[in-house]
Amino acid sequence: MSEFDPKIIAFCCNWCSYAGADGAGVARLQMPTNFRIIRTMCSARVDPEHILRSLAKGADGVIVLGCHPADCHYIGGNYRARRRMALLRFVLEEYGFDPKRLKLEWVSASEGEKFQKTMTEFIDDIKGLGPNPIKEGA
């Protein structure tokens, strides 16, 4: 069997993490290419429905990246987001998913290196967990 090549959906906040990802690219930092970025206006814009739909369609992991606490462009979006993600992780656990398939991390616009590190670590974690159990025959 060939090595498991995970598919990751990354939701990046427009104001911090998306710029951070951009920074990582401009700086030519090396990282795995298993993730697809979806830009959102805020980490709080990421509805639990988006994450559940990603998993239902076979994404092996979902990572939500937002501004550091106290840095939210909309003042409190990231506080809302982290409450939702905490609750959603309970729901995922009840479904039988490993809650580590959903990660929330803070990456600012200047943290290209942190973006690289976060993504590399997350992809490694997902490789350890194996394919999304919702996929048939996985």
Binding site: P48, E49, L52, A56, G76, A86, V91, G96, P133
Partner: protein, 418 residues
């Protein structure tokens, strides 16, 4: 007969497509009507029924659009003769069947308008009588309950074939309802628990040399006996067959039933147009909160409570008082009897048209209720987890009626990496 034939022309041709897929031409099927019906119960053990693509129900009939034309007593049978009516249950509790009797004297309209050909909970009727009917001969069938075993699936397909209009009636038929929560386990786990581990059954099984568990087939001296095969996954009615209308609720409330009957009476007596196919009848486009008379102060909550733990303020929003209420994520139309009675909404009218699942919608609402703390920027993730773990069994609570129609649909099992 004019309206029935018109109705058949209008609807049955369209719905007919799916029946023809099942290799039954309406003409052929008329004689031994059980052609397709017979083999169905022998579905593979544990296999889920084949899922057909069903349109996402989006349209809604507001009460203003279809005012109940329903009177307690109608002027006798309709001009074209009584229509034929059936009501059947799949995996349900029987509450939906009873709800039709709950409309008080208006139940008489059903009798004035329709000949009841099949309704096991209320009158005697045999499946062979149903099989003897022509395709589409029943004008309207209300199907309640989810599809959980081979008998449910067989009867639903048979009723679809025999009915011009099929109404997915109640929360279980629409989204799997409470039986849908069985999707968090599999058939083997459920059978093992129910037949060997519950206290009463355990006491019985201890007296037996080996566990006695119902078998799907049994060779009795008189011949082989069968019981329906329990499926691993509970599905909704429209996952199995084409459905014309939906009536939500656990069970549907009087007001919604009246809109349904009003639309039928209007059509049968006055030739009024029926609502478009796929309509959710007797429900509104708004959320329950819009309809609920309680005063909303949009307070934040720090502690989740149950109604019995506090003195419930009769006028204030239940969420404002810390009681988790499904109102913000639930379609209105029921008249909010639960919240008016001091109990939180359980969400039986399902998700609103704007979202694809009720659970995620409720999760967002609940998570946003907890206030941002003064030191929120500095606290650890563990504190957030502590705050959120006040919500007990979020999956069971948020998806109480809609798990089988949620995005994930059933429990999964991690198989590990490498």
């Amino acid at each position: 007969m004019s309206f029935i034939s018109k109705l058949k022309e209008k609807f049955f041709k369209k719905v007919g497509d799916k029946i023809e897929d099942a290799a039954i031409k309406p003409e052929e099927a008329a004689a031994p009507a059980a052609a397709e019906a017979a083999p169905a119960p022998e579905a593979d053990a544990g296999a889920a029924p084949a899922i057909v693509d069903s349109p996402v129900p989006q349209l809604v009939s507001d009460k203003a659009l279809f005012p109940p034309e329903l009177k307690a007593i109608l002027p006798g049978p309709p001009p074209g003769g009584k229509i034929k009516f059936a009501h059947y249950w799949g995996a349900g509790c029987g509450g939906c069947d009873v709800s039709l009797l709950d409309i008080r004297e208006k139940i008489l309209t059903v009798n004035d308008m329709a000949e009841i050909v099949f309704w096991p909970i209320a009158m005697d009727g045999k499946v062979k009588d149903l099989e003897a009917l022509d395709d589409g001969e029943i004008t309207v069938t209300l199907f309640n309950g989810a599809v959980r075993n081979s008998e449910n699936e067989h009867m639903l397909k048979l009723l679809r074939q025999k009915s011009t209009l099929l109404v997915s009636y109640g929360a279980c038929a629409m989204w799997g309802g409470m039986p849908g929560l069985a999707n968090l386990h599999n058939t083997e786990e459920i059978k093992k628990y129910v037949y060997t581990e519950t206290p009463t059954m355990k006491a019985f099984q201890d007296t037996q040399p080996s566990p006695v568990i119902p078998q799907e087939k049994y060779q009795a001296p008189e011949g082989e006996l069968h019981i329906p095969v329990l499926y691993d996954t509970v599905v909704a009615a429209d996952d199995v067959v084409d459905v014309d209308y939906y009536v939500p609720g656990c069970p549907p409330q009087q007001t919604s039933i009246e809109v349904l009957l009003g639309a039928l009476v209007g059509h049968v007596y006055n030739g009024a147009d029926l609502p478009p196919k796929g309509t959710i009848i007797g429900a509104s486009e708004k959320t329950l909160c819009e309809e609920c008379p309680r005063k909303k102060e949009n307070r934040r909550i720090t502690k989740v409570v149950e109604p019995h733990e506090i003195d419930v303020d009769p006028d204030l929003c239940l969420m404002d008082q810390g009681i988790l209420c499904m109102g913000p994520a639930t379609r209105a139309g029921c008249g909010s009897p639960c919240t008016m009675g001091g109990q939180p909404c359980r969400g039986c009218y399902g998700p609103t048209g704007a979202v694809s699942e009720q659970g995620a919608s409720m999760l967002t609402a609940v998570a946003s209720l907890f206030p941002v703390l003064d030191n929120d920027a500095l606290i650890d993730e563990d504190v957030i987890i502590d705050i959120m773990s006040q919500v007990k069994d979020p999956l069971g609570y948020f998806y109480q009626f809609t798990l089988a129609k949620s995005l994930i649909k059933r429990a999964v099992k991690e198989k590990g990496g490498k």
